[in-house]
């Protein structure tokens, strides 16, 4: 082979190696930097108190609670809708125009940036439906946002259920609904779990869609339903608040470490589910 070629080859190969190592280094540094700056500030007290000038506490308990509230409400609404949609698209709908429209709109929904969801949630839930800045407004906004993730993940899971199971059950006189209940949904449990975990990751990381819907409240709940109707900042929103105030970066970094740990857990959990599922087969 020609010398010039060999040199060029070598050049490209080095470039790929450098890119690969560079990307990897950047990632690892980001994670270590966040942990380095944030982990030392995390104490038990930090996790179980509310921010209060009176008591001199700066804890994040309300934000943890708000985040959990939003996760639960969002998932309670969107998981069944998402699973049902996936069932419809995979098991009932043929290949007609309507299905194409539904699939296209679901794709489009997935591509809309958070800030647009934030604006829409503000106009529709906060102002339009008069729900005000509240955890409920935030959760309803996120419900629409994560729907595509759930639909797609569950659809993938349904697609992997072999057709011969459906045939076998039909041959025994099972109705479609019965097959869904006894075979398809049980076989899709890993996919459904993955969808839920991915959604949790997405909700935990969300901020732009929540600032103008769930608001910035940081009080502890007095009761479930009252809290749902009151404003509440999640961990990410509170991180942002602290960061732009610029007083001290210790608290936002502590929150950031917690967020990165959650992301790590989400990643590991999806892997574990996928692995245990593959083993079963």
């Amino acid at each position: 082979m020609n010398k010039k070629f060999r040199l060029f080859d070598f050049f490209l190969k080095s470039l790929i190696w450098i890119s690969g190592i560079f990307i990897f280094t950047v990632l690892i540094s980001i994670i270590f930097f966040v942990f380095y700056k944030g982990l030392p500030s995390i104490s038990w007290n930090f996790l179980i108190t509310a921010p209060s000038e009176l008591d001199g506490t700066i804890g994040i308990l309300p934000m943890i609670i708000n985040t959990v509230y939003i996760i639960v409400i969002t998932l309670v609404i969107s998981t069944p809708i998402g699973i049902f949609s996936a069932i419809y698209l995979n098991e009932y709908a043929g290949k007609n125009k309507l299905v194409k429209i539904i699939e296209f709109t679901t794709e489009t929904l997935a591509g809309i940036p958070s800030i647009i969801y934030g604006l829409f949630g503000f106009a529709f839930f906060v102002v339009g439906l008069k729900l005000g800045y509240s955890i409920l407004s935030g959760a309803l906004t996120l419900t629409i946002m994560i729907l595509p993730t759930i639909i797609r993940t569950v659809q993938e899971a349904l697609k992997t259920v072999p057709n011969m199971y459906r045939e076998g059950a039909l041959g025994l006189g099972a109705t479609k609904l019965h097959i869904i209940r006894t075979i398809l949904v049980p076989s899709s449990i890993p996919g459904i779990l993955t969808a839920i975990i991915l959604s949790i990751g997405r909700i935990v990381g969300e901020s732009a869609a929540l600032i103008f819907t769930a608001g910035l409240g940081y009080s502890l709940p007095s009761g479930f339903f009252e809290h749902v109707k009151s404003t509440g900042a999640t961990l990410t929103v509170q991180l942002y608040q602290y960061a732009i105030r610029g007083e001290s970066l210790e608290i936002p970094f502590a929150i950031a470490s917690i967020l990165v740990i959650i992301v790590l857990i989400v990643n590991i959990a999806t892997k574990v589910i996928a692995k245990s599922f593959n083993k079963e087969r």
């Binding site: 539904i102 296209f104 809309i112 106009a123 600032i211 970066l249």
Partner: protein, 298 residues
């Protein structure tokens, strides 16, 4: 004779029908959502744009929403958004494609799962965490290197956006390359091509549509990113210059929403509407690429 073949049909059919209906209603929730979102964005932002004047709104360069004689020109924000997106794509795409090539073709087998996990992690980290790291690392470093009084500027925004779109592009390049058939690769190697020649002359061209859709997804993510950019871009309304503070369309909305009066707020929705239209166009492009990619692999 045992049971008749007729009994039980109606009640069973009814339940089946009811559930089919429930499944169908769930399936159209996303379609209805899109329609309602579009409607609300147009209704909340459209009138303000018309009142300001479409041309004045899009091409006006003065943004003084709270002065006695308010002006609402968003050209600086539009251009800043475009330049920030373009900049991050220019750096992020080659880097991401190389990264994808590295993971799928070059990197030692044992390291592959580690790298893939790393990329997935990077994709999952919240925007605000990127913003925070940007504030504390990128901004001062940029100020230092380029000898600026403040490092919060367009360049820092581009750096952060680049890091944020990398995982999308890497992951899609990786999967598209893996789906190019083994035999194609082998026949190229069999003809005496080096592995690098095979990658650039055979693999990347056949995975082109897939990679393009990764690029469009990356563009979508960069255009829509808000919180991370707020924390590093300085947020002054300026025409885009690398080392000047800038405000993008997304950040412009967040910065003023909390105190905007009625009309001012409608104008912010107008910015949202322009952004929304931009995203819809990107989505249609994406769909075209995905369709082509689909046909390609069939």
């Amino acid at each position: 004779m045992a049971v008749s073949l007729y009994s039980g049909k109606t009640s069973k059919d009814k339940i089946e029908k009811i559930f089919k209906y429930i499944f169908f209603l769930s399936a159209i929730v996303s379609t209805i959502s899109i329609i309602v979102i579009t409607l609300y964005m147009v209704l909340s932002g459209g009138p303000a744009i018309l009142e300001v004047g479409f041309i004045e709104f899009i091409f006006g360069t003065v943004w003084e929403p709270t002065s006695a004689n308010p002006r609402f020109g968003i050209l600086p924000m539009i251009l800043s958004s475009i330049v920030a997106t373009f900049g991050s794509v220019i750096i992020g795409v080659p880097l991401g494609v190389f990264g994808g090539v590295f993971i799928s073709q070059i990197c030692p087998k044992k390291l592959k799962p580690i790298f893939r996990t790393a990329v997935e992690l990077l994709a999952g980290i919240p925007s605000v965490v990127f913003g925070l790291v940007g504030m504390l690392v990128v901004v001062p470093v940029v100020a230092d290197i380029f000898n600026l009084p403040v490092g919060s500027n367009l360049f820092s925004a581009i750096v952060i956006l680049t890091v944020m779109i990398l995982p999308t592009i890497i992951a899609i390049t990786d999967t598209s390359l893996r789906s190019v058939s083994q035999s194609l690769q082998e026949s190229s190697l069999g003809l005496g091509a080096t592995s690098i020649q095979t990658i650039f002359k055979v693999l990347i061209p056949s995975a082109k549509s897939g990679i393009m859709s990764g690029v469009v997804l990356g563009v979508g993510r960069a255009v829509g990113e808000t919180m991370a950019v707020i924390m590093v871009a300085g947020n002054v309304v300026n025409m885009p210059k690398f080392f000047d503070s800038v405000r993008l369309m997304t950040t412009g909305i967040v910065l003023e929403m909390s105190y905007a009066g009625d009309f001012h707020r409608s104008v912010l929705f107008g910015i949202g509407l322009i952004l929304f239209i931009f995203i819809l166009i990107l989505n249609i492009l994406l769909n075209i690429f995905l369709k082509r990619a689909g046909n390609h692999y069939e």
